[in-house]
């Protein structure tokens, strides 16, 4: 077994762990975190494929010994994942503020949404 295979299996396990948290955790913030874990696993799988496809650049004396195309795509993916996470968190905070305001307005029992309506 090589290091790449080891990290590839870790990436597969991370996808499983992230998927479990995404489905099973009732808290919306925890679902966002789990989604990022899942994404990390996918990126890691991609990185293992990049590492396996390397070698030619090292022979040509270009330094890196991974396939730069998947690596560049992972960098793109990380930034897009950050943008999506940021939007999700701001939505979540807006929801929390709205709930707090609704519960401040008198009884609030009819205004306040049910705790789990809408999921995450």
């Amino acid at each position: 077994m090589t290091g790449e295979t080891l990290f590839g299996l870790s990436g597969a396990a991370l996808v499983g762990i992230g998927l479990y948290g995404l489905i099973c955790h009732p808290g919306a913030l925890r679902k966002i975190v789990a989604f990022n874990l899942l994404g990390g696993g996918v990126f890691l799988l991609f990185g293992v494929i990049a590492k396996r496809g390397g070698g030619a650049l090292a022979v040509a004396g270009k330094g890196a010994d991974g396939d730069p195309v998947p690596q560049a795509l992972v960098i793109t993916g990380l930034v897009v994942a950050f943008a999506a996470t940021a939007i999700a968190i701001v939505l979540l905070r807006g929801l929390g503020e709205r709930r707090a305001r609704a519960s401040q307005k008198g009884d609030g029992s009819s205004i306040q949404p049910k705790r789990h309506s809408g999921g995450g």
């Binding site: 080891l6 597969a12 913030l29 799988l45 996470t85 940021a86 905070r93």
Partner: protein, 320 residues
């Protein structure tokens, strides 16, 4: 070789252990802290996979900026529901989901174990086509020349994200300054840190962008460091985030993508393809685009961290 494998194995175990901790942590805050540790260890894995550029991005964007947002949200939101909360799946269904997720992971693992050998690769093609771009870092070459359209869309996607965040402002808050950052005006050590660290941080950020042409580094990593320095100054209360209605802010936000797009469109006539560079001009044009993008990206990332505009009572102009 075996000692390297032992280190790799320990690293993988640590990453998986932290991932489990993140998933099963009692509190949201513990989960966010665990996630940051997980991200930093994942950056080490990227180094082991000979992807230093990705490691820098993972540490700066995937861990630093995302972790900042998660910590802020965990601290402000009401305590999240734990696994025992009503509405959480019962014990039986959790076991079932766990088994199914295990099947997914096992399937992916089987794919990893049966990857084709020799691996399909684009590396020789990149090596062959790197000299015309005049950059020595193959990842920068791929990002800025071979797959430039991906990078263009990636930089553009951050602007809709920022617009989306701004559009979540309340009616009374619109046009004001972002109000999501915690303000810790009275903290002495933090103020000192926010005065001492930024000069070094800005230097590191610019260095990362500048060496990105030839060595690991690049605009995203550099911009993330610059944004972090800016947010440090904002959190310490030394400066205030600009009002989102400002024309100069909006111009600077779109400046980088506009320069990228302009040079790309000019390529239709000068180099006979969209996003192609005229011969001999590749490197100066790539550096121009990277410089403009760094400024815009740092600003956009900082404003995303600062959150939607809110009513700022200390400013009479935008007060209620």
């Amino acid at each position: 070789m075996t000692s390297a494998l032992v280190v790799d194995g320990l690293l993988a175990l640590l990453v998986l252990g932290l991932a489990l901790r993140v998933t099963f942590a009692r509190t949201d805050y513990g989960s966010a802290v665990g996630f940051m540790g997980y991200g930093l260890l994942l950056a080490l894995v990227w180094v082991r996979l000979a992807a230093v550029d990705v490691a820098l991005t993972e540490a700066a964007v995937g861990t630093g900026l995302t972790g900042f947002l998660l910590l802020g949200a965990a601290a402000r939101l009401a305590p999240g529901e734990s696994f025992d909360a009503p509405g959480a799946p019962g014990f039986g269904s959790r076991i079932l989901v766990g088994l199914l997720c295990g099947v997914v992971a096992a399937g992916l693992g089987a794919v990893v174990l049966s990857l084709p050998d020799p691996a399909p690769t684009l590396a020789p093609l990149v090596a062959e086509n790197l000299p015309p771009t005049e950059v020595a870092n193959p990842i920068t070459g791929v990002l800025m020349a071979h797959r430039a359209v991906d990078t263009l869309l990636e930089t553009v996607v951050l602007i809709p994200a920022l617009i989306g965040i701004w559009s979540l402002a309340s009616d009374s808050g619109w046009g004001g300054r972002p109000g999501s950052l915690p303000l810790l005006r009275s903290s002495g050590p933090l103020t000192l840190l926010a005065q001492v660290l930024p000069p070094f941080g800005i230097l590191v950020g610019i260095h990362l962008v500048w060496v990105g042409a030839d060595e690991p580094g690049g605009k995203f990593q550099g911009a993330a460091v610059l944004a972090a320095m800016w947010v440090l100054v904002l959190v310490a209360g030394l400066r205030r985030p600009p009002a989102v209605i400002g024309q100069r802010l909006r111009l600077l936000v779109v400046l980088g993508p506009l320069v990228f797009l302009g040079i790309g469109i000019a390529g239709i006539w000068l180099a006979r393809a969209f996003l192609a560079y005229p011969e001999g001009w590749a490197k100066p044009l790539i550096l121009t685009i990277e410089a403009a993008l760094t400024l815009s990206l740092a600003l956009v990332l900082g404003m995303i961290l600062a959150g939607p505009p809110a009513v700022d009572r200390s400013d009479p102009k935008v007060g209620p």
